[in-house]
Symmetry: C2
Subunit: 241 residues, 2 copies
C-alpha cells in the first residue's frame, strides 16, 4: 500500500477574521481522495510573508504535494507568488506566457500594472490553467498555487489531476446508528480497532431535530474485508442496550 500525502495552506486574513468561511480545504480533500492522496495537515495563514514562506518550506518537505489557495490576485495584499519564490530561493518576474493568458480576457489597454502583477511567476514554474478568469495558477516543484475564490480554485483542479501520482485508494463504509451516543459504542469500537489495526475507525456524533446518533466510518483499502468488518461491528452494536 502506497501512502501519498498532501498539505494545504489556505492564505488570507479574511479566513481568520470570521468574514469568510473556507470551503477550499474540503473541495481539495474531496478531489484528492479518489486519487489515493490523503490530506495530512492544513494551515490557515494571514497575509504575512514570513509565516507563508516558512510554511511552504515546511510543508514541501513533509508532504508529497502542497496546495496553496489565495493571495494571487492583483492587489497589494496578494503576496503568495513572491512567497513561493522566496521559499525556494527562486527569482520571480513577469512572464510572457502568463501575460498571453491575461490578454485572452483583457484588452491591452485594460492590462494595467495591477493586473500585470498576476503574470509574475517564479522562475521554472509551470502554469496551471484558469478557465474562469484566465489569470493562471502555477506549479513550483511539488507546490500547486491556486486562486482563493472557490469557483476559480475548483476550475484549476482540472489542470492538476494529470500531474498527481496517486497512491492506494482509500475506501470507506459508514454505519449510521440512531439513538446511541459515542459512549455507548466506544468500548466495542476500541476492541475491534485493536483486532484490525490496518483499518481506521472514526466515530462522528450528530444531533438532529428529531434525535441524536453517530456515524461510524471504516476506512481501508479492501472493500470485501471492510464489508465483513462492517457486518461484524453492526451486529455487536445492535446488541448494545
Amino acid at each position: 500500500m502506497k501512502t501519498v500525502t498532501a498539505g494545504i495552506l489556505l492564505i488570507g486574513d479574511e479566513l481568520l477574521s470570521g468574514r469568510t468561511q473556507d470551503s477550499n480545504l474540503r473541495d481539495i480533500a474531496t478531489f484528492l481522495a479518489p486519487l489515493g492522496v490523503q490530506v495530512g495537515e492544513a494551515r490557515i495563514l494571514a497575509d504575512d510573508a514570513e509565516l507563508i514562506v516558512d510554511a511552504v518550506r515546511d510543508f514541501s518537505s513533509r508532504f508529497d504535494y502542497v496546495f496553496t489557495t489565495g493571495g494571487i490576485g492583483p492587489t497589494h495584499d496578494d503576496i503568495t507568488a513572491d512567497c513561493i519564490a522566496a521559499a525556494f530561493d527562486l527569482e520571480i518576474s513577469q512572464r510572457q506566457d502568463a501575460v498571453d493568458e491575461l490578454l485572452k480576457r483583457y484588452e491591452p489597454d485594460d492590462l494595467n500594472a495591477a493586473r500585470l502583477r498576476m503574470a509574475r511567476i517564479p522562475d521554472g514554474a509551470s502554469l496551471i490553467k484558469n478557465p474562469v478568469s484566465l489569470a493562471p495558477g502555477f506549479q513550483t516543484r511539488n507546490v500547486f498555487t491556486l486562486a482563493g475564490v472557490p469557483q476559480i480554485m475548483r476550475a484549476m483542479l482540472q489542470d492538476i489531476e494529470r500531474r498527481i501520482e496517486g497512491g492506494t485508494t482509500i475506501i470507506k463504509r459508514t454505519i449510521s446508528v440512531s439513538g446511541k451516543g459515542e459512549g455507548d459504542v466506544a468500548g466495542p469500537l476500541s476492541e475491534i480497532a485493536k483486532i484490525y489495526p490496518h483499518i481506521s475507525f472514526g466515530s462522528y456524533p450528530f444531533f438532529k431535530g428529531d434525535g441524536y446518533g453517530l456515524n461510524i466510518v471504516l476506512r481501508g483499502t479492501e472493500d470485501a474485508e471492510l464489508g465483513r468488518i462492517e457486518a461484524e461491528l453492526s451486529e455487536i452494536i445492535s446488541k448494545i442496550s
Copy 2:
C-alpha cells in the same frame, strides 16, 4: 492600541478527509472579534499525538490565547486531553468535579469506562461548562480545550468570555463595488493604503448569478476616521471608468 491574539487548533481526521466542513474557526473568530482578539493562525490537525503536542506548545507561546476543538469525546481516537497534558508536562487523571458533571446526565450504571474518559483532566486545569451534553471542556494556562461538535463548541464559549482579557476592538466598514474587478481598483487601493498605514484594506472579489464585483473592507480602531477614509475611497472608485 493593545493587540491581543489567538491561535486555533482544529483537531480531527474528519476535517482533513473532506467528510466534515469545519465551522468552528469562523464561530470562534466571530466570538473573539468584539472582544478585541484577532485570530493569528489556525491549523487543522489529524488525530496524531506528536503533531498536536508540538502545535499546542508552539501556539501557546506565540499567541495570547489558544483554542482547541475536537478530540475530547469517549472514543479511542479522542486524545486531545492527553496531548494538552503532555504539552505542558502535566499529569492527567479522572477528576471528581468532571465526574460530577457527567452524573448530571448519566445514571451511574451508564457511566461506563468509555464515558469516564471524558472526566480525565490535566492537573490544575479549570473546567469549562458544557450546557448541552455536560462533558466539560477545560482551560490549561492560556489554552481552552473545547468539543468539536459545533453546537457544543458554541455553547462552551459562553463560559469563556469572562476569562478573556481583550484588546482594542477592531471596527470595519465595507464598500461594495459592482461591475468592477480587483484589477480596476488595485492601483488606487495600494496608494491609499500607503497614506493610512494603520488601516487594513482588504479586497474580496465576488461572482454572483447576475454579475461580479468586489467588497473592499477597511479595518481600524476609530470609527470617525474610517468613515472619512471610506468616503474618500468611494469617491476615487466612482471615478474609475
